[in-house]
Symmetry: C2
Subunit: 325 residues, 2 copies
């Protein structure tokens, strides 16, 4: 049963910050800032990821004309072990903090939980963010990028990016209408290089549970299924009887890098759906180009340990419906 | 500003499950189940931790007379990288899932978020849990226990335990009255063996912000400051002007193992405050021995990486107030 937010919590402001590679992508104009160097001058990739989140958060608060002390709660997470970059960003921001972890679906976990806290009366303003850093994530989940390991064409490219948003009880602009938290879905896929395929069933499951009339949406946008995963999700949706003839199905991982071949199947990472939502999607809605979208952020709940212990890849997708009017 | 839950979400049922070592402790009678073997017969410590959470969740749902399909959302987390045991437990339970990570403060992050979702009208029943496994956590954060590494007397003992609770919109029993989410507090301590000291300022910060009249509480119970950390927290609270002459200050890490010397300063781990809350504290409140308690679960937001990168240990404490009447 979808969560309907009666008070229509508004996205008062949002910001996307990225790395040098993202600056070359088709959505570059939707970002507020890019790092010139991959480590952001911070000395380590993890510290750079912390800076991504701090900077995106500061941009969002500035646009919302809020001081840190006026923000009631900070909901955020990332992919790094123990969410170290997020924890340290939370220290810098000094806002009451609840850490969230749903892998690359964390962005929408933050949006839905933040909307629920505002709608329930526990917060007037919520800061929510999710981030990832390509080199920090590669080092942790696979191999340090300096190793130069080869990857298969089904794989994806972890974005160096953060999306941060201020959600507020009142104001003008795109608002959070409703949301559906996902269940963990596992079709038994074990290949950690093929996460798009592993996540597609979870995306389909949540979208089917949330969407009544697909033609009423301008688009349904998955988090990071990539080219391959998105095709599988569309197939599963159609097999369930959903009529997508009048609905665009897009994917943040595809949108972020366009046809760049280096990213294989497309972008991924906790920062991918966050940055595309807080930049591109939010701006298109503010401009009135889209008035009703469903963002289904997708997460692969694996770890290097689960792969070593020969488990399959359980996945999850959280859906948040944004409306303009 | 504390969150006040107008509908008084009830702890409909709760369960604590532990390992062989916990079975010898002073709170053993408050647990529903113990593993005979440290790996629970599952083949790895991480899979054992998954089983702890599954079993505690099933016990709680059985006591609440609920099927999985009747539970609206599962809020849970643990200390393992990417929360692998929790993710796989979520797969087994098949309940819409939002993962939470605040280290050993995760238990109360779950209680407060669950209470907010019920009070806001998004859930009638919430399952919340947090777990840890001694050997899985030692292997990840420090050394595999087979290594036989020595530890200093300020250190603590990660509990092999899970606490799971069903929070409901209606029913009889102890209820969640209010909560205060913590801010990240960092006094610059860098010793990863002395987490009690690192966390004490965070505990004091949140307790000071939540508690108006300390004498109105039967007790204030911290999560896992241990003997050393608890003394520091009491000192900080008194220095802030709080009169604790009529209030017991207890600590779940101390309660769980009593005077057992092997645990040095006391128990710790995400499962420590969870199991003590869902077993001992809950039962004492049901029995009417306590009618108003504040549980301030404490978390050290470090990681092996943050220690290697020479950062200090940022900490957090989340406080939840339980009342009987």
């Amino acid at each position: 049963m979808a969560w309907i937010f009666k008070t229509k919590p508004v996205i008062k402001a949002a910001s996307a910050v990225g790395g040098p590679f993202e600056a070359k992508g088709p959505l570059a104009s939707s970002f507020d800032q890019f790092f010139d160097k991959l480590d952001g001058g911070e000395g380590s990739f993890e510290k750079a990821q912390r800076r991504l989140m701090e900077d995106a958060s500061v941009h969002a608060m500035k646009k919302a004309e809020l001081k840190n002390a006026e923000v009631d709660v900070f909901l955020a997470g990332d992919l790094i072990n123990q969410m170290t970059p997020t924890n340290f960003a939370a220290r810098t921001l000094s806002i009451p903090f609840i850490g969230l972890y749903n892998a690359c679906a964390t962005s929408m976990a933050g949006f839905m939980t933040g909307a629920a806290l505002i709608d329930g009366g526990y917060a007037k303003h919520v800061l929510t963010a999710a981030a990832s850093h390509h080199s920090a994530v590669e080092k942790q989940f696979r191999y340090p990028t300096e190793y130069g390991g080869q990857k298969p064409p089904v794989s994806q490219w972890t974005a160096t990016a953060c999306g941060a948003a201020i959600l507020s009880l009142s104001g003008e602009g795109p608002y959070i209408h409703s949301a559906s938290p996902g269940r963990v879905i596992d079709y038994g896929i074990k290949d950690p290089y093929n996460m798009g395929s592993a996540m597609a069933p979870a995306a389909a499951d949540t979208i089917i549970r949330h969407v009544q009339e697909p033609h009423e949406y301008d688009c349904i946008i998955t988090g990071d299924l990539g080219r391959i995963g998105k095709q599988i999700a569309i197939k599963l949706l159609k097999e369930s009887g959903m009529n997508l003839s009048q609905t665009s199905v897009l994917d943040c991982g595809e949108l972020l890098y366009g046809s760049e071949p280096q990213v294989f199947s497309g972008g991924s990472g906790a920062g991918c759906s966050a940055a595309v939502t807080c930049g591109h999607i939010y701006q298109k809605m503010k401009a009135g180009e889209w008035s009703r979208v469903l963002i289904a952020a997708t997460g692969a709940l694996l770890s290097p340990l689960s792969v070593l212990q020969k488990d399959s890849i359980p996945c999850i997708a959280h859906a948040v419906e944004l409306r303009r009017f």
